[in-house]
Every structure is written in structure tokens, then in C-alpha cells.
Symmetry: C2
Subunit: 409 residues, 2 copies
């Protein structure tokens, strides 16, 4: 029988009734003979309620004290779930991050896990007890409570699975798996049975917000099979695992991600000199603005056009920085465009299949969609197009690359 | 300068605004050069909210899990108070019971403190930081979180004061001190400046619910001067201390306590044989009914009347037990009366002053109040009278024993 780590998010444990439903699900897995470690988040709304109390006292609460306070949200949920399991006749024990102990550095509100002591958990598992661990929290070397930052419960789940060498880490959420693309845009989107860690990272960072990126990185690093499932329905969900586990019958493209939260800035007529990219992007980085895609073209007159994208909310700030920079470097002008979007095709199959990019461009051309920027990596091709074409582009690509679900009978 | 432990209850920290008011008060003490350790309860209503969540899941929650959950209430308050102090520019650090560490036995929901490690607190005090400790909680030898039972924050305050050899433990509450009697009954009731631990214990157990009895016992045992003050107003409050600290000018009687929650049961015509008291009270004890006063009189016909009092809500249950017992021992009848009350005069002065009892009886006789039962201890005389005479009896005694406050100008 297997050792399984299950993680339930705030919505899944949002009320006593839902906690009892989680207990029922845990019991079903336990009854199959599996050893179960459960990680839970705070009940939905609780973390915000606590932060609201702190903000009523000070606009800028001390991070140590914030963690001391916010960590109570998960502590309540673990106890309630333990009670619900005991009510069903199971042996169950709740553990805070400190009790486990999940040792972190002292970077309050965004701590990183350094080590996990599995002694206590192993002893309880040996007694066939279900262990319920508070997500999102740990303890530093001085006994201070730390938190891993919002959404960090996924990371706790994966880290526990890695420490215990669990057979699988199951992330229960309000969707029933990872889809080839957003079903709200493409009704024919299919739930993927399997996807590789690398693909999932590309999908997640591109806007398919199912899992915390950091937990996927962590799972990939420690090769912990990760499964996304619905905490409300049944079904196998989507398994995120190593490439060797993903069958060879996988299509070339696994999924299509997109992101509307993009804005484009172009510095025109930049003298084509060494170091010019740094002189443009250095000040942008100094202003704490994250840059996404970057494209540079050389023009005929020995000047160049330098284009990059940022989150839409950062465009004005970036423009302010660029206007000064443009003067300094003798560029002609800065133009912006916030009516754009990014569409990305992701798939490990690209590595072994040529012609994916040209097929993609062909599909878009056939729909009369002009490509403004292109960026490629080993398993991803991203294009920037006008925002109004987003749905059309995604649907056309989804169909053309054979991702549509078969029509239902 | 002094080392002072201050304890604030749930009402005093019931909202962000009130927590900020507590911070202001703490800062004032700190600015006078004192070292301050603050103990706080959960925000009022929070403990009940949490228990409500547990009860929604199971009628009979596991005590360990209940403590794991309920202890979060104080954990939130300590962090909020630390933030409020930091906002005022003070160095402040919150500590849970486990972080201190306040070591207890493993009797969840009613744990007893076994030891307190003062190392961390001393180190923080040396830096002139204010320490805020979660009341009502500790940690057992296996790292499980325990609670001391409801109201246990007073005990935490006294225990910390004892461990740190503090100069004073201040209990902030919603009254401004301990009164000679309930001001709602006697408007002339006076706030006492000082009272001994023993007197306070008699006053508390008799219904003047200002402090947890257990914390007073604890303070007496470790000779920790205890002061009750208002968290909303100013003033010196009442100092509870050793007899040698209470001046000799103290009146004979310190205060008058009373209790309406009494009912009387009399077994009439009991054969006057050895062991009869045990045969009556044994079954009462077995039924978990607590007995307060006991009186036995021998009658002329070699039978006796056996009378005792119980909490009013227990009278019916006690009667059920007694009716069986009465048959067994051949008693004539059982009569009950729940229209009674107990009035008690308390004062260490009784030890050195004769005639207190007879003066008390004289005062009551003058008011035509019939005394139904009498019970005395070294520093207390209690009588049972008809409930309708309660106010009259208390007022008459209060005046006769010189407790009335001087009329205000």
C-alpha cells in the first residue's frame, strides 16, 4: 500500500460541513490501506480576516508578528479535521509546522523550507494514524513561527511528500485537473491525464493558475509525483510527473496557455551599440518592474527597435523610467501598447518534432492574426498578438494541434 | 525600577482599538523605567467562536485537538499587541506558551503548570523589550499544546510573575478593584486598598468573581503581590498580598460576600448513630453534587436533623438521591428550601478580635432576620438566611462593621 500526501485548500475546508466531507474522503483512501498525511490551508476568508485585524492596528505590521498571527488559521483547520476524522473512528493527530518540525530560514512571510524532521510523522503512521499538518508554516532555528507566503500550502504538501518519500502528493482544489487550455475560452478543452513538471511550469507561469509554481519546481526537483484533483467531485485528475512517466502517445503540444495581463513598450531608433540592452533594462529592474518577453531587431540605419513586455499594471511606471533612459541613450521615441496578449503553446513533444513553430504561424496567418513578437524555448513557443484576437487564436490553435476533446455522445 | 507582569482579559483586548489602548497603557509603565511582561487572553468572543466550530463537527471533541485549536485565540492577540507596541516605537516580542516555554502536564483543557523557562524572557527584558505572552496555554513534554482551562490567563500571569520573581502581578479587568461587598447591593461599598490572599480566597469562593480562585492560591503560595485594576480607568486598584503587608489599621472585617445560588436540604428524624453523616453525604458525593455548608443538630428523642446546602440547580437531583437514602436509614422525611441565601463576613482581623460572631448575630436579630444555619472558619463567618433578607442583611452588616465609604462631598 502507498504513502499518500493530500493537500486541501481553503475552499475545500471552508466550513465545518466541508471539513467533514474532506474527512470522509480521507477515510476512503485510508480504508484502502494507504498511509495518509493531510496538509490543509486556513478556512477560506480566515487569513484575510486576520490580516484585516493587523491592518486595523498598523499599516505595516512586523513580519514576525504577522506570521505568529496568520499561522493560527491553519492551526484551527488541522484541529478541526483531526476531530472530524476521530468522529469517524480513525486515529488522527494534528501537527503544526513547529510540531513536525518543518524547519525554515527566518525570512518571515516568505520563508524557505530547510529541512523536515520525519521522526514524529513516521511514528504516528506506524500506528496507522492519519497525520494532519498545518500548511504554509514552519519554524526557524530560534523557535519563531514562519510562513511560506500565500498559497504556500502546496509547497508544504510537496515538501512533506519529498521528506517522507511518498508515492504521490495529491493537491485537491476546485478544478478537476489541468486542462489543455482554459475551458471558458475553448469549450472543447480536455483534462490532461498526465503532464511533465516542465510543461506544468510553463503552463502555470503563463497563467493557468492551478498550482503554485514553487510547489511544481519543488516536486520536479525531488521527483515527487503530483496529482491535481477536485475536492468536490471524483475522477483521476491530472498527474504531473517526470517525462519518462508520460506516455509516448502524448501529442506534440500538451496545452495552450495565454495571458492578457501584458503590455508592450518599444524604444524606437536606439543606436545599435554594445551594452544598450543593459542600459535600457537595468533601470527597469532597478525600479522593481519584472520584464517578460524581450525582442530586439536591427534596422537598416544602424539603429535598433527594442521591445519588451511587462505586467499591464506596470506599464505607466515603466514608461516613466524609459523616457529618461531614451533621452540618455539618444533614442528616437518610446511607444506603448496595452491592448496585447500572449499566447503560448507548451509541449515536450516539440523537442522531437520539427515544424511546430511554422505550423503555429500558419494557423494564425490563416485567421489573419498578425504576430507582434515571438519568443521560443525548448518546450514552448509564445507569441504576442492583439488582445482582441486572443480567443480566436487559442481556439484555432487548440483545434489545429488536435487538442479538442471528442464530441460527447 | 520594577519588573511588572500585567494581565489583560478578553474584554480589554476585544477589538483593535482596545488593543491599541492597552499598548498605550503598557507604554506608560515602560516609560517609567519598569520592565514589562504582558499576558493576554483571546479577544472576547473568540474562544466561544472556536468552540462553536468544533461542536459543529463533533459533540465531544478530542481534548488535545481542542487545545490545539482554542490556543490560537491568545496567539492572535499577542501578535496584535506586539504590533501595536511596535507601532508606538517600543521593542516588543510575542511568545506563545510553547515558545516561552511554559511546561505543563498533559491534562488537556485543564493542564497544570509544572515549570517555566525564564531564559528567553530574561534575554528580551535585558534588551528593554516588552514581552507579550499568550495566557491560558502551555506545552507538555511531548510538544503538545495544552490549555489551563477557561479563565486560566490569570494563572499564567501569576505563574510568570513567580518564575520571574516580579515585583507585582497586575490583573486588569472591567472593575477597578475588590470591593467590601457588591456595590449593586450596597451603594456605600468601598474599594479595598489591600486584602490578604486568604481573605481574597474566601471572598472569591463566596461569589465575588473578580479573580480566578486558582490564580489567588498560586499567588499566595509563591507570595506574588497581586493587584486588581481597571483596564478602562485609572486608579490604584486593590493589592492582594501577604498579611504582614496589610496594615494593622485594617478593620476587623474586610468584606462581606454573599451567594444566592444556594438551596437547603434537611433530612428529619435521622436515628442518631455513628456513620450516619457518611451514609447521607456519600451518595450525594457519588452523584457528583458538591455540598457547601453542613449542620447537624441532636434532638431530644435520640434522632437528629441533618441539613446541608448545594447549588440551587442541583437541589432536585440531590432530593432524588436523599429520598432513597432516607428510606434506607429510617429517617422521617426530607424537606427542601431553595429560597435561601448565604451571607459571609470575611476578615483576618477575626483572629485577634473576639465577639465578631455575636455582634453579627445581634445585627441580624435587630433586623428581625432569622438565622437558619451558621458555619465558621478562622477568618470567616457564614450564615444562611431567607433569600428575601439578603440585601437587608448585607447592608446592615456593612454599616455595623464600619465598612461604608464616607459620604462623598
Amino acid at each position: 500500500m502507498a504513502l499518500i500526501v493530500q493537500k486541501y485548500g481553503g475552499t475545500s475546508v471552508g466550513s465545518p460541513e466541508r471539513i467533514m466531507a474532506v474527512a470522509e474522503r480521507v477515510q476512503r483512501w485510508h480504508a484502502q490501506g494507504h498511509d495518509i498525511v493531510v496538509v490543509v490551508s486556513a478556512m477560506s476568508g480566515e487569513t484575510n480576516r486576520l490580516i484585516g485585524l493587523a491592518k486595523a492596528i498598523t499599516p505595516d505590521p512586523d513580519p514576525r508578528e504577522l506570521d505568529q498571527m496568520v499561522s493560527t488559521g491553519e492551526q484551527v483547520t488541522i484541529a478541526l479535521l483531526a476531530m472530524a476524522l476521530q468522529q469517524r473512528g480513525l486515529g488522527a493527530k494534528s501537527l503544526t509546522g513547529a510540531q513536525v518540525a518543518i524547519r525554515t530560514d527566518s525570512a518571515f512571510t516568505k520563508a524557505r523550507i530547510e529541512s523536515i524532521d520525519d521522526t514524529l510523522m513516521r511514528a504516528e503512521l506506524a500506528k496507522r494514524n492519519v497525520i494532519i499538518v498545518a500548511g504554509f508554516q514552519g519554524v526557524d532555528s530560534e523557535g519563531n513561527i514562519t510562513t511560506l507566503g500565500r498559497g504556500g500550502s502546496d509547497t508544504t504538501g510537496v515538501a512533506l511528500a519529498a521528506a517522507l518519500k511518498a508515492d504521490e502528493c495529491q493537491i485537491y482544489t476546485d478544478v478537476d485537473g489541468v486542462y489543455t487550455t482554459d475551458p471558458r475560452v475553448v469549450p472543447q478543452a480536455r483534462r490532461m491525464d498526465k503532464i511533465t513538471f516542465e510543461e506544468m511550469l510553463e503552463m502555470a507561469s503563463l497563467g493557468s493558475k492551478v498550482l503554485q509554481i514553487r510547489s511544481v519546481e519543488f516536486a520536479g526537483k525531488y521527483q515527487v509525483p503530483l496529482r491535481v484533483l477536485s475536492s468536490f467531485g471524483e475522477g483521476e485528475g491530472t498527474l504531473i510527473t517526470t517525462e519518462s512517466e508520460v506516455t509516448m502517445e502524448q501529442p506534440v503540444i500538451s496545452g495552450i496557455a495565454f495571458n492578457r495581463d501584458e503590455a508592450k513598450l518599444t524604444v524606437r531608433g536606439v543606436p545599435d551599440l554594445p551594452g544598450i540592452a543593459f542600459r535600457i533594462l537595468g533601470p527597469i529592474g532597478d525600479a522593481n518592474i519584472e520584464v517578460d518577453m524581450i525582442v530586439q531587431n536591427v534596422a537598416a540605419d544602424n539603429t535598433t527597435d527594442f521591445t519588451f513586455t511587462v505586467a499591464r499594471g506596470e506599464m505607466k511606471k515603466a514608461l516613466g523610467v524609459l523616457e529618461t533612459v531614451a533621452k540618455d541613450i539618444g533614442a528616437r521615441e518610446v511607444v506603448t501598447d496595452d491592448k496585447i496578449c500572449k499566447v503560448s503553446m507548451v509541449g515536450v513533444g516539440m523537442r522531437s518534432h520539427a515544424g511546430v513553430a511554422s505550423k503555429m504561424f500558419g494557423v494564425l496567418a490563416k485567421e489573419n492574426i498578425n504576430i507582434q513578437m515571438i519568443s521560443t524555448s525548448e518546450i514552448k513557443i509564445s507569441v504576442v498578438v492583439e488582445e482582441k484576437y486572443l480567443e480566436l487564436a487559442v481556439r484555432a490553435l487548440h483545434t489545429a494541434f488536435g487538442l479538442d476533446a471528442p464530441a460527447k455522445a
